[in-house]
């Protein structure tokens, strides 16, 4: 009997052995640990390059537009911004959602990819986390000044006061306050904790070079790191806990930002698809910005061995995946508008595509849905210039997405008597333009004074760190 069964099923194997796919190396050219240290620390220790000063000067100049715009606003009143009835959110909230969305790639890379053991994150997580924090800084400017009288911005927090003003905890705008401030805090902690071993490396190197001031400064922030096993054990645990805390934040922050819209009753906003659609859009725009920033850095500092083609491939694929989700969401919004048979919802979407803001809508569709589709092609992913240009389109498209959502829905709601139009003032435009300067100033300072890659972590994923290196014939470069 047993014999017969075996004979009847000859095709079934005793054991399944899937083919072992070669994992691409995360550090090319079999670079040594000391090469990595020299490379990353060299960026900080070397003389300040001329291009850095030029960029810093331009960035400061651009940032002054935000400073001037905000100063003028505070001195005059929020009327200098272009929001009027019926669009009382206008550019400031478009810009807020735009910047906060960009921040999402940092947390995704640092937290979710850490928990999923995606080792390619190590080369880009430090800069992406820095980008997150600086984007949150830029995002925070807008709602704080949008409240009108900024000196009353503390009313956003539940502080007992003699006016008996208490926050409306049923409002998603209030949830936003806590979502964004928690997100900012956890991102800073995550960034800082991850940097401690690298700061200690810099401390020791500046000590050896005889630079007492910088050695003391890096040493102060390294908090007495000695690299002992106990330190590493505590550090790894702290990092893992922070990753655990930050993971839900990746999803929650932009979910709550989307509630600002979805909890209202405005046609085009009041839809259940908003949370996942916003989160996908945020990660999409975040990776767009990571590519925009990392590719020039890679070229300038010759980091091709650390940010390999494999890293770029991974980032392009995530951009492609999230961009396609966003495209699906756009299509689904249209479908539901028709399927719900709600005339207001139906009108809103037809108005979006063919109404007065159709130009913005089609910019959004071209940039967010069509652009990422190029990443299907290996040829495109391997063309760094092309990837960089496409990443710029992603950034532009995601700004327009928020513009379309806010402006088309608010300018054409239920009653034609309350229809209107929205156009920004020069102060709006300058203030937003300036935030790119604020962001650049912070980012330039970051690459000049802090290790832009997690040296300690990269060393752990090099082929040399593999205990089987040289034994399985895999990494014999």
């Amino acid at each position: 009997m047993a014999h017969a069964e075996t004979a009847a099923s000859p095709a079934i194997l005793d054991e399944v052995k899937p083919a072992v796919l070669a994992r691409p190396d995360l550090v090319d050219h079999d670079r040594s640990f000391s090469w990595i240290t020299e490379k990353i620390c060299g960026i900080i220790e070397g003389k300040t390059p001329a291009w850095w000063w030029w960029c810093f000067g331009v960035a400061c100049f651009v940032a002054s537009f935000t400073v001037a715009g905000i100063t003028y606003l505070v001195a005059t009143g929020v009327g200098v911004w272009g929001h009027r009835n019926p669009v009382n959110w206008g550019w400031p909230i478009v810009n807020f959602v735009f910047w906060i969305g960009i921040g999402h790639a940092g947390t995704l890379i640092s937290a979710i990819l850490c928990l999923l053991r995606q080792k390619w994150r190590t080369s880009i997580n430090r800069a992406a986390e820095a980008m997150t924090i600086f984007a949150v800084v830029c995002a925070g400017i807008f709602p704080v000044f949008h409240v009108g009288r900024v000196w009353y911005a503390w009313f956003l927090f539940p502080i007992p006061n003699s006016n008996y003003i208490w926050q409306n905890f049923r409002s998603p705008l209030e949830w936003d306050v806590f979502a964004v401030s928690t997100y900012g805090t956890v991102s800073v902690l995550f960034w800082y904790v991850g940097m401690i071993p690298d700061l200690a490396t810099l401390r020791d190197r500046f000590q050896a070079a005889g630079n007492k001031t910088r050695s003391w400064l890096y040493g102060f922030f390294a908090m007495g790191w000695r690299g002992s096993s106990r330190h590493w054990s505590n550090y790894e645990m702290a990092y893992l806990i922070l990753a655990g805390i930050a993971t839900p934040l990746v999803l929650s922050v932009h979910t709550i930002v989307s509630f600002d819209f979805a909890v209202s009753l405005i046609p085009g906003w009041h839809t259940t698809i908003f949370p996942p659609y916003f989160v996908a859009g945020a990660i999409f725009s975040g990776f767009g910005m990571v590519l925009t920033l990392m590719l020039p850095l890679r070229a300038i500092y010759h980091l091709e061995d650390l940010i390999t083609q494999y890293h770029i491939d991974c980032m392009c694929k995530i951009t492609l995946a999230t961009g396609t989700i966003v495209g699906y969401a756009y299509a689904m919004e249209f479908f539901i508008a028709w399927y719900s048979a709600n005339p207001y919802e139906g009108f809103t979407f037809i108005n979006r595509a063919f109404g007065p803001y159709a130009w913005a809508y089609w910019i959004m569709i071209s940039c967010n849905v069509i652009t990422p589709q190029f990443f299907w092609f290996k040829k495109v992913r391997e063309n760094t210039t092309m990837v960089w240009v496409l990443s710029i389109f992603v950034n532009v498209g995601m700004w327009f997405e928020r513009f379309v959502i806010i402006c088309t829905s608010l300018t054409r709601d239920y009653l034609p008597s309350s229809w209107g139009n929205m156009s920004p003032t020069i102060v709006d435009i300058f203030t937003f333009f300036g935030t790119f300067g604020v962001f650049s100033v912070l980012f330039l300072l970051f690459i000049r004074f802090l290790p832009l890659m997690a040296m300690a972590e990269i060393k752990a994923v090099t082929p040399r760190a593999d205990p089987h290196a040289g034994h399985d014939g895999h990494s014999a470069h």
Binding site: N161, S162, N163, Y164, I165, R203, D204, Q207, S215, W216, G219, F220, M223, G224, R226
Partner: protein, 217 residues
């Protein structure tokens, strides 16, 4: 490697936390005491051009509030008396007192006596004086015991919280019509209990607004 942190630095986290707790406590207590209207407004008693004593006129002599502040039951804005009102008595009583020179001058020229305003509601607050006194809110609720003051001082904080305390709980504050201008009178709740106070509110349909637009119109 240099020793930036001495061994005592191990205690730093605890010390920092303690310091922050103490600092937070001091700042909170300080702000609560010194930065609220209970401190910043209460007790404001500017020197007036005429040393008029409410304790003498309203307290000892028992002149009704409305003798001088004649429109407070009819007007949204409480009025100050003109010099004519003063001169009703003071053309006979102390008619040559140097303290009243300003009043006499005002009477002759028609220029108002430059009284210094003490109780000021902000421009963004709609406050109707008449509706309050006509619906059972006595002078004493907002102005304190004016009838005992030689120099009028800001007695109550008049913060938004102060307004809301009464708007949320009118039953504890309302008085009978006859008691409104008697600053020593008890509230209905003190005299006849809360049931009577609530009955008073129900009978007169007194529902003080608590929405923003009730006062910030």
């Amino acid at each position: 490697m240099s020793n930036i942190f001495p061994k005592s630095a191990n205690k730093l986290p605890l010390q920092i936390i303690l310091y922050l707790v103490v600092l937070g406590g001091v700042v909170t207590a300080g702000a609560t005491y010194y930065m609220t209207p209970k401190y910043t407004r209460v007790g404001y008693a500017p020197v007036q051009p005429v040393p008029y004593s409410h304790a003498l006129h309203a307290g000892q002599l028992g002149i009704d509030c409305r003798y001088c502040h004649s429109n407070i039951e009819k007007s949204g804005v409480a009025n100050l008396p003109t010099a004519q009102t003063c001169m009703n008595c003071h053309n006979q009583v102390k008619k040559d007192s140097p303290l009243l020179a300003v009043v006499r001058q005002s009477y002759e020229t028609g220029e108002a006596v430059p009284w210094v305003k003490i109780h000021q509601t902000p421009d963004y607050v709609y406050f109707n004086h008449a509706i309050h006194v006509n619906r059972g809110v006595s002078c004493v609720e907002c102005h304190g015991k004016i009838n005992e003051m030689d120099v009028v001082a800001h007695a109550k904080p008049l913060s938004m919280g102060f307004c809301l305390d009464c708007h949320r709980d009118p039953a504890s504050h309302v008085r009978e019509k006859a008691d409104i201008y008697n600053l020593d009178s008890p509230t209905i709740a003190e005299k006849s209990g809360f049931a009577a106070a609530h009955q008073f509110l129900t009978d007169r349909n007194i529902k003080p607004p608590q929405s923003c637009s009730g006062c910030h119109r």
